[in-house]
Symmetry: D2
């Protein structure tokens, strides 16, 4: 992937890579009607355009069946929305680190509030992802679960109070304390872990506040995916960086 | 998809289609290392070749991330291994009828023993699949569950005694009675439903026996997917038709 | 249990029993604060009193830990809220037919919308319950799932549209058609199965309507469990029988 | 409960209690046929007898429906095998901290390998248990998951490599390293947490080794529950203390 076009680099934690800790805006397409198929292409194209304009890394997490197509056609980092805690084998309807890597993903969400995983499975999935050089974004809901997941050293922890997901009020507006407490709790357990703010992020001000609280970026969904004009929304999101 | 090359046609149950009830050999790739990525292409190519030679419909159910690529590059029917019982919306890491249809699938497995679904979800998923003109293959484990699932009028019921899955002994050898009882029970509930035999199918004799018992084909996995030479195995599987 | 006090008898389907098909009012205590511990005793006592006054069978489904105490102290039929589809063995935190039978239950709910089960597990659990002479009340959500579950010949099917559960409008008021269609669909598959109406039942009129639609009784929860005076509510519920 | 009969005391972490850190032998009855109903009484009686003889705290985790009866009839600490991460409310077939407390339990297992929980649910359940003054024994499978769960400050972490559960070889024999690593990892995250050794524990030597590795006791099941003579097995288990 031609990351030479980016002024900043995707954060990675793999040995040998020079790590440039920059911010990440990660768009979760879920299976919103406005986020799958040809519409996923529109969002990927918008992300690519605004990434080029702004130099900010904007990544997309499309549905499984769109990963291969989007990673081939658009020069942006692609994440899976989930992988299962299984190794290659007899697991019909499951998704492994191996297959999303082959499809072109550079990372995966894990434990999203819409797809919670057992403690044991999160640990296995983070490990499997690392073995395939995939970034991991482990979603959590409060300071205690953020600190617990920090033990597994994922690339990012995404703190998302479930009651704010999909809403019009961002976590950085509604409850900045949860970000600060989660960040502090996670750093106590694992000083090298990075945190994204999730839930309700919809404007440049939300993103700015999230960064000022010490996060490395944001995980968002509906505000971009359901937008009439994703380019304009993304331009606003990066406008205060 | 250029089905003009096939002497027989994929069984469909959609209004307006002329229905030619012919047999189906459906290969479930699971997430076997030997069934994903480039190796899935090899199996799809083998399926295509033997389908052309024999006139038998051979379909493939690759992992989600391979559906789009295989359906674009190989002229064979592609099935998903599973869809979730959700409509388009905020369901991170889920798979809808809509997205597998867009990716090129003509049908989906449901309720495989490695991905069991609730009764309520099977009903929703079969309905969603039909709304997107997808065939449905609902997997069941005995005569009672086969009859229950027959109520939902899926395209096929695939009877797979879990203890035989992945083994060297086929259901048609080990327990032909389960096929006969399941078929009879399903037909009592829904005379128009068709049955596939699953679990342990590995030879032309297994397939022949399955058909003689009244099924419309077979669902199989490891015997083809893990074969050194999938073409040869597939040629054997269709050899007694 | 001294069922001689009842003018009517609990419906049973066990060989050798004379079956007197009478109505059943089944109170699901869930884990409402108002339905556990000493408060479950209050409800059981109310059920006993109104059952004696009216001759109607009123049964209670308390939380697992209350089954033994209530079945010992109150002369009313006690149901479990769920059993798992496992046989005796290494299943920590699970509940078998055997243990609820030992605790004094005469039956069990299965597949409640708050505890959905896979198709395969419903079949196993109904079978296990029958082997222990437990009645089974399989909850379903529409005509298709009701017909499917009818294949397993449970003692009752309880039709509960999820959107009405816990509400103030009963299924018999809001959507009598769903009861009629479900009853008809179930009887087509299995003429001997009986249906209860669930969801929102709160008055004698609801119960009367449910019976007039052809059901054998009702499954209810909050209207009794959260009542200030459960005796009065139960008296109203049986007032039009 | 007359804990005055014990030379040692159950470990508790509640404010105001004097904490005497002594060892715990916790017997998980699962739903083994040999561990439910009248047979659970036999095991409870054996535990009581050997506890009195030895002064060691021996606790029992019977199936939900046996908790009330055993806690009333036997003077030993009783644990639930699981509680769900739900508050009192509309949760049919669920088990809350409140109801197991009312039934007489002093604590609960959580996240057993046969009943894994999501990360979010473990956090909620530990919190709910503490609010009801219940001890918590969170089961984990390796050093990473043990450290993660340590963040929640349960009373105990029980390290159980799944492949050894139910076997004849104890974790302290087969893989003492996993106990040492898990203990060290957990203490780094939370110095006050205590660890139990689980999986395959069957003799006084296993228990002695487990304690020598720094644990505070053992979680065991089949070796006691399936024993012809539970008293003799328990006497052996405490023989090297």
């Amino acid at each position: 992937m031609g990351t030479h076009l980016f002024k900043t680099e995707r954060v990675t934690s793999f040995p040998g890579n020079e790590i440039v800790k920059e911010i990440l805006i990660l768009i979760n397409c879920k299976v919103y009607r406005e986020g799958v198929g040809r519409r996923a292409d529109v969002i990927a194209q918008a992300a690519r355009q605004v990434a080029e304009e702004s130099g900010v890394t904007i990544a997309i997490a499309p549905t499984f069946t769109d990963i291969h197509r989007i990673s081939r056609h658009f020069d942006i980092p692609v994440y899976a929305q989930h992988i299962d805690a299984v190794m290659p084998g007899a697991f019909t309807g499951h998704v492994t680190a191996e297959v999303v890597k082959f499809a072109g993903a550079v990372g995966t969400l894990l434990n999203h509030s819409e797809r919670r995983m057992t403690l044991a499975d999160i640990e296995v999935a983070v490990r499997a992802a690392k073995e395939h050089q995939l970034n991991t974004v482990v979603c959590t809901n409060n300071d205690a679960t953020t600190a617990a997941a920090a033990v597994f050293s994922p690339t990012y922890l995404a703190v998302e109070p479930p009651e704010l997901i999909g809403g019009k009020i961002s976590v950085s507006e509604a409850d900045p304390g949860i970000i600060e407490r989660s960040l502090a709790a996670a750093k106590r357990v694992n000083p090298s872990v990075e945190v994204l703010a999730g839930a309700g992020i919809h404007s440049g001000t939300c993103v700015r506040t999230a960064l000022d609280l010490g996060t490395r970026g944001v995980l968002l969904a509906s505000s971009v995916v359901k937008a009439d004009d994703p380019v304009r929304v993304l331009q606003d999101l990066v406008s205060k960086l």
